[in-house]
Amino acid sequence: MIRTENLTKVYRMGEVEVQALRDVNLEIQDGEFIAIIGPSGSGKSTLLNMIGCLDKPTSGAVLIDDINTGKLSENELAEIRREKIGFIFQQFNLIHTLNALENVALPIFFAGVRREKRLKRAEEQLVKVGLEDRIYHKPSEMSGGEQQRVAIARALSNDPEIVIGDEPTGNVDTEAGNAIMDILEGLNREGRTIIVVTHDADIAARAGRTKRMRDGKVLD
């Protein structure tokens, strides 16, 4: 279970303070599929970064399975990101010098798993997202939709409980977006917690629950 307690994030830019998150209290149950919507600048990405252990709150806390992530060391946070969470970006963010298989194998490499086992596991993930015939393609040789599916395979490579997507369909057409949502639904059926930010009402409608944000607050 993921829980935020009075989660607040303030960005200070010189004299100006930006309240990206104000006292956010949110509970996400294991196995839930939740969509977060809201206008640009409302703090959606900031919230995902906090939950995804990429950033630390100014005040308040994020608890994952009752562990306060604010109290963990950088190394422990890296381990949570690696083992418990799979992060999917709007811009795909694949490593352009590596092919699909190597990209997917990268988080398993950081986990220190042996090469053969690692490549086998990476290949399984690519098959799972329907890219078995794109294994040796470089990112530049794939469509946006395919790249995002590689990114999903990469997010899944260490078998995480939580999959987080910050506008995962934002850079692909409707058809590819639907394919991505199909995959995410499938992952949810496997029992994983899915959290996605989206601007698309149709996409949001496919989630089990929708939360709206405005001015750094989660509305009821």
């Binding site: 990101r81 970006f89 963010n93 010098t97 190597e102 950081f110």
Partner: protein, 404 residues
């Protein structure tokens, strides 16, 4: 490990020109060190080899070698020689009469150094080191014979006199005119070069002949061989004292122990070696700055990528390792190439020295120097990569991902 290597290798390959230029810095630095070390080992060996044969010699000449005492030296005489021979620890003492005289051969004339020496003493002075030239055609396998005690109007000549000075080559049984008297050549000496290249342009006659044609009995040099090299300095001091007494003058003569000269030469050599290595090290420092700069640029350019890697679970040390490996790989390859270039350069320098100066100086490439060179390259690479790699590893994942 293999994937880390691949990742790093592809990053290096992506910016080929920059990586090659960075590597070139290391190549030049390491090559300079290897070449300098190899050549100086060669020089050291050739110096010690040539001089160690003379380590037990004391050279006695009139006139102090100290500065400001040049001028009319006077000369040594038979009494000096007898006194030197009597000194405890002296094995042999040989006197030489030396003058520059006109030498004529088939109508050509040159001024040359004529050395008058007792044939018995010649062995004492040169021992095994100066031999007759080889001649497979002759019965003895040598070009002529050595001077004998009762020889009259015959000479042995140095290699350059036989081959280089005159238009016509001079061989055994040819006749030269020295200061108006005819001399027959009985032997041609082997080429010496290096520290004994003086021998190549000297003509040796018996002491008796020298006294006659040079019109002097003055001794220009006494060569002394000592029994124990350890006592050479003391014996040299005693020789100076005796001869100065004979001539009732302070600082009339100087006796130089060659062993001491070897040590002096070696210490000068050591200083030179350190100096050259210091210069080579500067090029290594420049190379190190190059690596640091390249790695830093690589870190900057890949900030976004570093952020992504951290977001998907890379620990600080994973990132640190990747960038250290990048710096290390460039410098290892640079180090290996530097060794190869260094060996080639050392051989070329050695070849050049032989061609230009006629001195045989081998390029001695020691394996420990090569290993040391590669180790230094790796060390330079890792140390230079450390700062940029730490910088990369400490980046905040969100900020790095946002960076475009």
């Amino acid at each position: 490990m293999k994937d880390a290597f691949l990742l790093v290798y592809r990053n290096i390959k992506e910016r080929k020109t920059r990586s090659i230029l960075t590597m070139l810095g290391i190549v030049v630095g390491i090559a300079a060190v290897i070449a300098i070390m190899s050549i100086s080992y060669g020089m050291q060996e050739s110096i010690t080899e040539q001089l160690s044969e003379m380590a037990d010699i004391i050279m006695v000449t009139p006139g102090s070698v100290e500065l400001g005492s040049f001028g009319d030296f006077g000369s040594l005489n038979e009494r000096d020689l007898k006194d030197v021979e009597r000194i405890q620890g002296v094995k042999e003492a040989a006197a030489m009469i030396g003058e520059i005289e006109e030498v004529e051969y088939r109508g050509e004339m040159f001024m040359m150094q004529i050395i008058g020496i007792d044939p018995r003493d010649m062995d004492a002075v040169f021992g095994e080191t100066v031999k007759l030239e080889e001649d497979s055609g002759s019965e003895t396998g040598a070009s002529g014979r050595e001077l004998r005690e009762n020889d009259h109007k015959v000479c042995e000549i140095g290699y350059s006199i036989a081959r280089d000075y005159f238009d016509d080559e001079i061989g055994v049984n040819d006749r030269l005119t020295i200061n108006g008297s005819k001399f027959r050549v009985v032997g041609v000496l082997e080429k010496q070069g290096g520290f004994r290249s003086g021998v190549d342009s000297q003509i040796y006659v018996t002491k008796r002949d020298a006294v006659n044609i040079l019109d002097t009995a003055d001794i220009s040099t006494i060569f002394v061989r000592v029994r124990d090299i350890g006592e050479a300095e003391e014996i040299a001091a005693e020789i100076e004292e005796r001869i100065d007494d004979n001539h009732k003058l302070d600082d009339f003569t100087s006796a130089m122990a060659m062993g001491g000269a070897i040590e002096d030469l070696e210490s000068i050599f050591g200083i030179l070696q350190v100096f050259l290595l210091a210069i080579a090290s500067i090029s290594l420092i420049v190379a190190s700055l190059g690596i640091m700069n390249t790695t830093l640029m690589s870190v900057m350019e890949r900030t976004h990528e570093i952020g992504v890697m951290k977001a998907i679970g890379a620990k600080n040390r994973n990132i640190l390792f990747l960038f250290l490996m990048e710096a290390g790989l460039v410098s290892v390859v640079g180090g290996v190439l530097g060794c190869i270039v260094g060996i080639v350069a050392a051989k070329a320098i050695s070849f050049g020295i032989v061609a230009i100066f006629g001195v045989e100086i081998a390029a001695i490439v020691r394996p420990e120097v090569l290993l040391g060179g590669i180790a230094v390259a790796v060390l330079v690479g890792i140390l230079s990569g450390l700062y940029p790699a730490r910088k990369a590893s400490k980046m905040s994942p969100v900020e790095a991902v946002r960076y475009e």
